[in-house]
Amino acid sequence: MSIQLLYFAGLREALGVATEHLELPAGVDTVAALRELLAARGSPWTALVTTKNLRAAVNQKMAGPDTLLQAGDEVAFFPPVTGG
């Protein structure tokens, strides 16, 4: 299944990528598994597992490591928010 990925702020800059389409291999169906899959690309992608307090959102709602992924999902990774 394919998903849409978004990266924001310091993470976006570290990766040098803001968005990508990704075809998920079988078995990668949670936020935690997706982070491991991306980190396996090597530096700078290891940030997906090493960044302190990295946040994830699935379909624009905050998500935890166990949140299940479905085809067509919009998944975003970003640092803790600092607006206001």
């Binding site: 800059e13 624009q60 709602k61 975003a76 970003f78 607006g83 206001g84």
Partner: protein, 151 residues
């Protein structure tokens, strides 16, 4: 529309007029404005900051925060404006205006919205000095401020 994300500046007075015009049932308006402060960074003064956001999710998160405030307190109107893009020191970043019958509700809801906006709405600030740029780190104090409302 009670929530707006925009690059343009805002006028607190105009927003208050828009809320109160033609009404005679509002007794209290509490408001908050956040501004870009010239704090020190890496031995220099901050000149400006750039606000990044997550289009779509930001609007939803703010609408959810406003809905929560309305469910906790008896409010007559809420207005939230958050700017994005590059802002120099002294510029306004965010406005929250809350109208209620009584001041206790207006103050509490305004502070509640700011506390949750600071921890739940997907905005990120990158501060810049003449020679440096640095993403702002989330403050533990902001998490604590938001946590006190769940007690």
């Amino acid at each position: 529309m009670s929530v707006t994300i925009q690059a343009a500046d805002f006028d607190c007075g105009q927003e208050i007029v828009a809320i109160t015009k033609g009404r005679d049932d509002i007794g209290a308006i509490a408001s908050f404005i956040g501004l870009v402060r010239a704090d020190p960074l890496a031995g220099e003064k901050i000149n400006a900051m750039t606000l990044e956001h997550y289009p779509g999710m930001t609007e939803k998160a703010l609408a959810e925060i406003v809905a929560q405030a309305k469910s906790r307190w008896d409010l007559q109107a809420v207005r939230v404006i958050h700017r994005i893009g590059r802002l120099v020191t002294g510029e306004q970043i965010v406005l929250v205006v809350v109208a209620a019958s009584h001041r206790g509700s207006a103050f509490a809801a305004c502070e509640f919205i700011m506390d949750f906006l600071k921890t739940k709405a997907p905005f990120w600030k990158k501060e810049e000095t003449t020679h440096h740029g640095q993403w702002v780190e989330a403050r533990d104090a902001d998490e604590s401020a938001a946590d006190r409302w769940t007690k």
